[in-house]
Symmetry: C2
Subunit: 203 residues, 2 copies
DNA sequence: TTGTTCAACTAAACAGTGTTCAGTAAATTT
DNA sequence: AAATTTACTGAACACTGTTTAGTTGAACAA
């Protein structure tokens, strides 16, 4: 009896369709404009239908942000292929992170700035994809500490610090707090900032 | 003829009343809950009245965020009183910044994370209060570089980097991305992170 | 004092949001 | 063929920011 299997497939397909449409709209027009009604309109279903596949908007965008993490984790993995020096690995991961943010600003915003995805795992649940991504950084930092290439001794303090530094740069840019530096130069300044920071924390 | 002066005073008073009520509601209940209607309700005027004093919600919250900057700038000024060593000054300013964020999370959010205040100065206008605050950091960094106490040579790269680091820490906390570390330990970890960073960039 | 002007204010509406629920219609099972 | 289950939706609810036409009372000029 393949009917229940086909139904299950249909259900997953529909879920994916909603997810991809949500992602598409919000990448093109931002989180604000990605309303349930706009998504429903584009897939030609009623808004109420979306609630048969997702508990609420937060849960829907939690799933979208998970797709973002899949991409970021992939890119941060590819970035270090063939690199042996731990500091070079750290640089590669840092620039992969920044590149992702530049190329997918709306997605970065959702993953690391917006409240929505975190609201959906408030209490009880866990931010698995976030931790997975953080783990990549920890692995690199671990190597740096082991080989005595970095001015940190604690992996978690180091990882927390470096992540915060990178996120600070990127999120101040995304949320327009670097207005002062001008759209034209800010990206170059940010890259210099990362480069200098790596030089300073290396030993 | 003091009538037009009294009217001007009344107008300013009303403006301030709206501003303070907006601040109050949003500090207590967050940005989302601080709706025009909620503010209007509390001051016992109709929502439309608010639009006689502010162009839109963005402009209203731009003014609220300016009050936040007045406070932050004051605290970051007081914090360094009596300190002569530039690195100690940097530490004091860093911890004053972090303390402000811990004690006024909603206001910090508005000042450095929310889009609203920046939307109201999009194009043409300038983020004066933000630049003023950044200038304080630059002054301290300048001293550090002049006295050769810090591993940076460029003031702007240094200031940008240190601000980004601090903002990254604070904003990841505020937007719940440090879930992993647990509510109980995260504040201590953040302080250690700042302490270590200062140790590393000092020379 | 009267009539007029002007400013402050608001009720009501518009267009949008997330979300819920009763009801329909078709597919599946008995 | 009848009963049940499933997928879906129209319409409503309670909100949001914002605009506009209209009211009311104070200030001014005759």
């Amino acid at each position: 009896m393949g009917i229940i299997e086909r139904k299950e497939r249909d259900k997953q397909e529909m879920r994916l369709k909603i997810l991809e449409t949500a992602q598409q709209i919000f990448i093109e027009e931002g989180f604000e404009k990605a309303s349930i009604r706009a998504i429903a309109d584009r897939i030609e279903y009623s808004p109420a239908t979306i609630y048969l596949y997702f508990k609420d908007k937060n849960e829907l965008f939690f799933s979208v942000h998970e797709m973002g993490f899949e991409k970021l984790i992939l890119e941060m993995t590819i970035a270090i292929e063939g690199i042996t020096d731990p500091i070079e690995e750290l640089r590669a991961r840092g620039f992969a992170y920044m590149k992702f943010a530049f190329q997918n600003p709306e997605m970065y915003d959702l993953m690391f700035i917006q409240n929505a995805p975190m609201e959906s795992i408030k209490e009880s649940s866990v931010w698995t994809c976030g931790h997975q991504c953080f783990e990549l950084l920890c692995q690199t930092i671990q190597k740096c500490i082991d080989q005595n290439y970095i001015r940190f001794d604690d992996i978690y303090i180091a990882s927390m610090s470096i992540w915060s530094f990178m996120h600070g740069l990127v999120s101040l840019k995304i949320r327009n707090r670097f207005q002062k530096f001008g759209e034209a130069h800010v990206n170059e300044l940010m890259k210099s900032s990362v480069e200098q920071m790596i030089a300073i924390i290396s030993k």
